[in-house]
């Protein structure tokens, strides 16, 4: 059923039950996100796509279109809240972009530019996070993990469907882990997929990095905003 809704005062028609973040993108309204991937089940972990729906704040990836919905995306308070969520990731992990293999093709960095982040408002923690290089083709640079769970849900053993990645512990003890036996069975394309699906430079394909020169990297040739709005799966 067709529903009529309002995003930032603009009247929009969409199908009831559709995902708000997708509908917004189809109408040229970019709502940044770090965990959501169009066409895949919503994870709802990063909260960076938070908007105001009928007066309450909720993530646009979990909100489904309903008739008469009133959505605020650009409202300064909620925009600042989204920026705070992005900033928190930089304080929580260690993000030394100048020495990161993912720089220029990193979604966290690209989204930070979109929300015009220049510094984190939270104290930088400099947390100690041990890296894991035991798998044959993958190493985990845990400093950069933002616990989006994309790898946990979407990268699975081809034969058994078992999860290869898992998050252990909670809060400051949370840690992304890899099942080395299953990881070593991953075909090269799946290794590449895991590295690409990770929005940051945590899942790194061994032997690959710094392939594109500065100025020619993914989000430098086309911004994350343009990619989302033009339907390029991130």
């Amino acid at each position: 059923m067709t529903a009529k809704l309002y995003i930032d005062g603009r009247e929009i028609c969409a199908s009831e039950g559709d995902v708000l973040i997708d509908v917004a993108a189809d109408y040229g309204i970019h709502i940044p996100s770090l965990c959501y991937m169009r066409g895949r089940p919503c994870l709802g972990t990063c909260r960076v796509c938070s908007v105001v729906v009928n007066g309450s704040i909720m993530p646009a990836c979990t909100a489904r279109i309903a008739d008469g919905m009133v959505v605020e995306v650009a409202q300064p308070e909620v925009a600042d809240m989204r920026r705070a969520l992005v900033e928190a990731n930089f304080s929580e992990g260690n993000h030394n972009c100048p020495s990161c293999e993912k720089s220029g093709r990193c979604e966290l960095q690209a989204v930070a530019y979109e929300v015009e982040m220049v510094v984190s408002r939270f104290p930088y923690r400099f947390a100690e996070r041990e890296r894991d290089q035991t798998a044959r083709h993958i190493f985990l640079e845990r400093d950069r993990c933002i616990f989006c769970q994309r790898c946990v849900e979407f990268i699975r053993d081809i034969d058994t469907g078992h999860k290869i990645f898992a998050i252990h512990g909670r809060g400051t003890h949370a840690r992304i882990d890899i099942d080395v036996v299953l990881a070593d069975r991953m075909p090269p394309e799946q290794v590449r997929e895991a590295a690409d699906i990770c929005p940051v430079g945590c899942i790194i394909e061994k032997g690959r990095g710094y392939n594109d020169p500065i100025g020619k990297r993914k989000f430098e040739t086309r911004s994350i905003r343009d990619r989302v709005l033009e339907g390029d799966k991130k």
């Binding site: 972009c97 100048p98 930070a112 015009e116 220049v118 510094v119 984190s120 930088y124």
Partner: protein
């Protein structure tokens, strides 16, 4: 820092030739802009130089005092806008930063080191003791004919336990990320402030590396 009386000379205390009073008067009417470097690599200072001929457009409004352009070692008087490269990694950095804050109306962190600690802050992940031991005692490149020594002298500033972003030590008004930021980004911020426009670094010129 402690200095023994009279065993050093500071360049800004040396006698110098008098400036033309008319030139000085004109300069005094302009906004004074300065830039200092703390714990950084001088890359951001080089980006400041990269503003190049763009700066000519601003020279009827500003004058540049202490900076990589002038080699002036002290701010001769209160500055309207102060840029800083590098984070805080030793006691001398703190002293310089606090003095600079007291003498600038607007203070701007320039580059990853100033904004969050940057490359020097990689030592925050290990205790200072281990860091010094690795650099001076266990270092494979230390001079083998000498006993391993961690340099210590009252004239060598004491290291802080961790490396700090500037805004954790004094109030900072604006931040320009990048390692280093582009000269044109620094120019945009300067140009906006001089003309009373709001500070902004739009997505297409923002960068963290």
């Amino acid at each position: 820092m402690n200095h023994h009386a009279k065993d050093y000379i500071l360049s800004h205390d040396l006698p110098r030739s008098a400036m033309d009073p008319a030139v000085m008067a004109k300069r005094d009417e302009k906004l004074h802009v300065a830039m200092i470097g703390l714990c950084g690599c001088w890359g951001c200072t080089l980006s400041f130089l990269d503003m190049d001929e763009n700066l000519l457009r601003l020279l009827d409004r500003i004058t540049i005092t202490r900076s990589s352009f002038t080699d002036v070692k002290r701010i001769p008087r209160r500055a309207a806008i102060g840029f800083i490269e590098g984070g805080v990694a030793n006691e001398e950095n703190i002293e310089t930063l606090v003095h600079y804050r007291e003498n600038c109306d607007v203070l701007i962190s320039v580059g990853a080191c100033a904004v969050w600690g940057g490359v020097p802050a990689m030592r925050n992940l290990v205790p200072l003791e281990d860091c010094l031991r690795e650099a001076y005692v266990d270092s494979p490149t230390r001079p083998l004919q000498q006993p391993p020594t961690i340099p210590y002298h009252e004239d060598i500033p004491k290291l802080t336990t961790k490396v700090y972003p500037l805004h954790e030590v004094v109030k900072i008004d604006y931040f320009i990320p990048g390692c280093p930021p582009d000269g044109q980004t620094i120019f945009k911020v300067l140009d906006d402030l001089v003309h009373g426009r709001d500070f902004s670094i739009p997505a297409h010129i923002n960068r963290f590396d």
